[in-house]
Amino acid sequence: MKTMTTKTAFRHLSIFVLAIVMFSFATIQSAYAVKVERVVSDGGIVAWLIRDHSNPITTLKLSFRGGAALDPEGKEGLAHFVASTLDEGSGDMDSNAFQKALDDRSITLRFNAGRDTFRGTLRTLNQHRDDAFEYLRSALTEPRFDEVPLTRIRAQILSSIKQDEEDPRHRASQGMFETAFQNHPYSRPKNGTADSLKSITPDHMRQFVTERLVRENLIIGVVGDIEPETLKIYLDETFASLPKSSSAWALKKITPQLTGTVKVIDLNVGQSAIQFGQPGIARSDPDFYTAYVLNYILGGGGFVSRLYEEVREKRGLAYSVYTYLMPLDASAAVMGGAGTANERVAETLETVRDVWKKFSEEGPTQEELNDAKTYLTGAYPLRFTSSSAIAEMLVGIQEEGLGIDYIDNRNGFIDAVTLADAKRVAASLFQPNNLSFVIAGRPQGVVATD
């Protein structure tokens, strides 16, 4: 996508203007004969590297622990606002000069804020690599936050917040977070509100940069045509001048407050967006891999899951129906979604509940378990899509502390799941009585309880 349109998630605008109706699909690529190297610079900066000489390109992904959930009360959207403006001028380059420098060299440099992390991407042709790393350094350590670009970006974010308000899927998802995480930072809108955004000043943003973009929170993954010795030099030049550490923070642990309620958010649309969810399982839980396999069977698998079969294939109730595990730093949930015509929402709810209950009571069959394992292990190499996806994985593995040999070991964890494990974890993890729904639309025959 164009930098211009991704900056503030201007999806709706950009979709509107595109005449040609096209498709997209997950670009799938594969494992290299993967060798992960741990590179430590002279200054002590660590990066994980996969060398790949196929093309003269270098891709770097970085993550700072701590995301939008740490935004101060009343300053919701701070992390997102910073992420959207960090590439709008730094050092002696104003916004226009900085953007032109990137554009002239086809350098991708962007940031985004998740609930638990603040992330960045740098992708460049090797011929422009010196400049690219210099721009990254400058953006992280001496951003300008000039008034003109700030005003422009704030207006874009405000517009996208307003658009989200009319998007059924966004409303259902935000409604689910509000129900699940009442009185916890996770319940707050990640991109902020009109009021909070207007109250954020350049000083708040500078404070964010000094306090949060620090070396002890930094994780780096690199993929591409680059040697470890060269990378070391870039690491020091780019990151050594970051502050070393920040003051500690604590995000209160919370069990999602999902107790089987049904909430309806009134929106005048013909198709309701349905979100469902219940408490989940931590990434560090010994049963996580079992839960991961179970989720695939229930609603995580392409055209073969139980929910796909019952909701879409047999009844034609929805175009897409899915579930996923959502482990967060301070919580965990099982989430899912579907979109159904208002008249048929009640039937979809009933079907999802029935599938959930049966799966909890009986667990998977031996055949389902076998098929899930051969899929998940066989498809793992395909996950190494582009250089950028692989670099993202290197960051994720470090964030979870899974070890540098994780890529080699991961399929073993999947294969080790037994039918007894699967039935035991299905019974404890899937809680039909706690499965809660948030519906954005005008569903018929549904009684709201929340």
Partner: protein, 448 residues
């Protein structure tokens, strides 16, 4: 994290690729190609980076080939291709792909329909056998069509009916193309989707799904020597079908400018756009197709573009502004410009400013430096495209189902590099000077 399973997704991603990576890269993909005796073309793009292949079959049929009254049939058939065949039970295809660690999907456009799997290289034999099987042996029943039709109606609701800007886009296409079938939505009009039945779908399938109307494209860890015997064994065994001539109704001259205004209660961000009918690689004044990509890049391709600089940065009246053009269509293409006003800015002002920028291009032309910069960015993006697995297969599939050739794709960068300020101006004049256009405004409905 969130995995949405979607058989067909309308996203602007590919169009952006058309803007930035408009075809392909001069002799970068280096494919090999051969023809089976039954007329099925085969393209192989070897890439040993990983022990994985993407296997695709593209049919030279899309929504613009549908008969009047049956919009949506190409797309509904695409969904039904995942049901059973004479040799495989319903659902067995997807189950087999998944059990073998593969991923699959399919998609439909105005000009083509394509199916693909990405899978470990040693499972290529299996997916080729199954894909060849469903080229001729599809079995579908009324019991399968009815719920799948409901699925497509839900797909239509989530893509179009629930989204005001998508509703307007459907209306724009119907206004811009007076007679060319691009005026019809790919997913179909709801009332016509509801009328599709087994007999009509099977007739469509039998007419268009045959090896001489299809292209096999495989990208990844395989070469021609390995692929050819497999292609001959599975696809080569299928008898040739009737020759298909893609006779489409053509466009009469436009006689009027058209303006569409849509007010909707769920619009919070108004937007403005204007479209002109333009040549593609395959239709109309094709000699301008490459220069127009450069023109679109200069007028509205990114942060350095004229519209962004003028409307978003200098005058700060718009939140975003740009231009779009792609040359891949079998039929006429579209050149468009757009902007989203800041709160409080009148649409008339936006329109005036965008029109002034276009007039400026037509009067003063574009500079050598602008052309050089655009070419350089397109060249760079070609390298990134090569780094993304699947892009080559995609680019060849689009080209070869829409009247293009392997040579044209491979020569793209040379043609782009040859664009000059003079040829850019000629191209801009051919499409934008004194031509009729369709202007669309998406507006918030005043609260009563």
């Amino acid at each position: 994290m969130l995995k949405l399973i979607q058989r067909q997704i309308f996203l602007p991603l590919l169009l952006c690729m058309t803007l930035f990576i408009p075809g392909a890269q001069a002799s970068i993909f280096n494919p090999e190609t051969f023809m089976l005796d039954n007329g099925m073309q085969v393209v192989v793009i070897t890439n040993h980076r990983a022990p994985v292949v993407r296997h695709m079959v593209w049919y030279k049929v899309g929504a613009a080939d549908e008969a009047p009254g049956e919009t949506g049939i190409a797309h509904l058939l695409e969904h039904l291709m995942f049901k059973g065949t004479k040799n495989m039970a319903p659902g067995a295809f997807s189950a087999a792909v998944a059990r073998n660690g593969g991923q699959e999907n399919a998609f439909t456009s105005h000009d083509y329909t394509a199916y693909f799997q990405t899978i470990a290289r040693d499972r290529l034999d299996m997916v080729m056998r199954m894909e060849a099987d469903r080229m001729t042996n599809l079995l579908i029943t009324e019991e399968q069509v009815l719920p799948e039709r409901d699925v497509v109606l839900e797909e239509r609701r989530s893509r179009v009916d629930n989204i005001p800007s998508s509703q307007l886009r459907e209306q724009i296409s119907a206004a811009l193309f007076l007679n060319y079938p691009y005026r019809r939505p790919i997913i179909g009009w709801e009332h016509e989707i509801r009328a599709l039945d087994v007999d009509r779908i099977l007739a469509f399938y039998k007419r268009y799904y045959a090896p001489n109307n299809a292209i096999l494209i495989v990208e990844g860890d395989v070469d021609v020597a390995e692929l050819k015997p497999l292609a001959e064994k599975y696809y080569g065994a299928i008898p040739r079908g009737p020759d298909i001539k893609r006779d489409r109704t053509t466009e009469p001259p436009a006689r009027a400018d058209i303006r569409l205004t849509m007010e909707h209660e769920r619009v919070t961000q108004p937007s403005w756009s204007r479209r002109y009918i333009a040549p593609s690689y395959n239709h109309g004044l094709t000699e301008h197709a490459h220069a127009l990509q450069v023109v679109a890049e200069i007028i509205g391709g990114g942060p350095s573009s004229r519209l962004h600089k003028k409307l978003v940065l200098e005058d700060a009246i718009a939140l975003s502004a740009g231009a779009f053009y792609g040359a891949d269509e079998l039929g006429p293409s579209t050149f468009g410009v757009y902007a989203a006003p800041k709160p409080g800015v009148e649409m008339a002002q936006i329109e005036e400013m965008v029109a002034a920028e276009i007039t400026k291009v037509l009067t003063d032309g574009v500079s050598a430096e602008e052309v050089r910069g655009a070419i350089e960015r397109m060249r760079n993006n070609a390298v990134f495209a090569k780094d993304d697995f699947g892009t080559a297969a995609q680019v060849f599939g689009v080209a070869l189902t829409s009247g293009g050739t392997v040579e044209r794709v491979e020569g793209w960068l040379d043609k782009i590099a040859a664009v000059t300020p003079e040829t850019a101006l000629q191209a801009a004049k051919a499409v934008l000077e004194g031509k009729h256009h369709v202007t669309a405004e998406l507006l918030a409905k005043p609260q009563s």
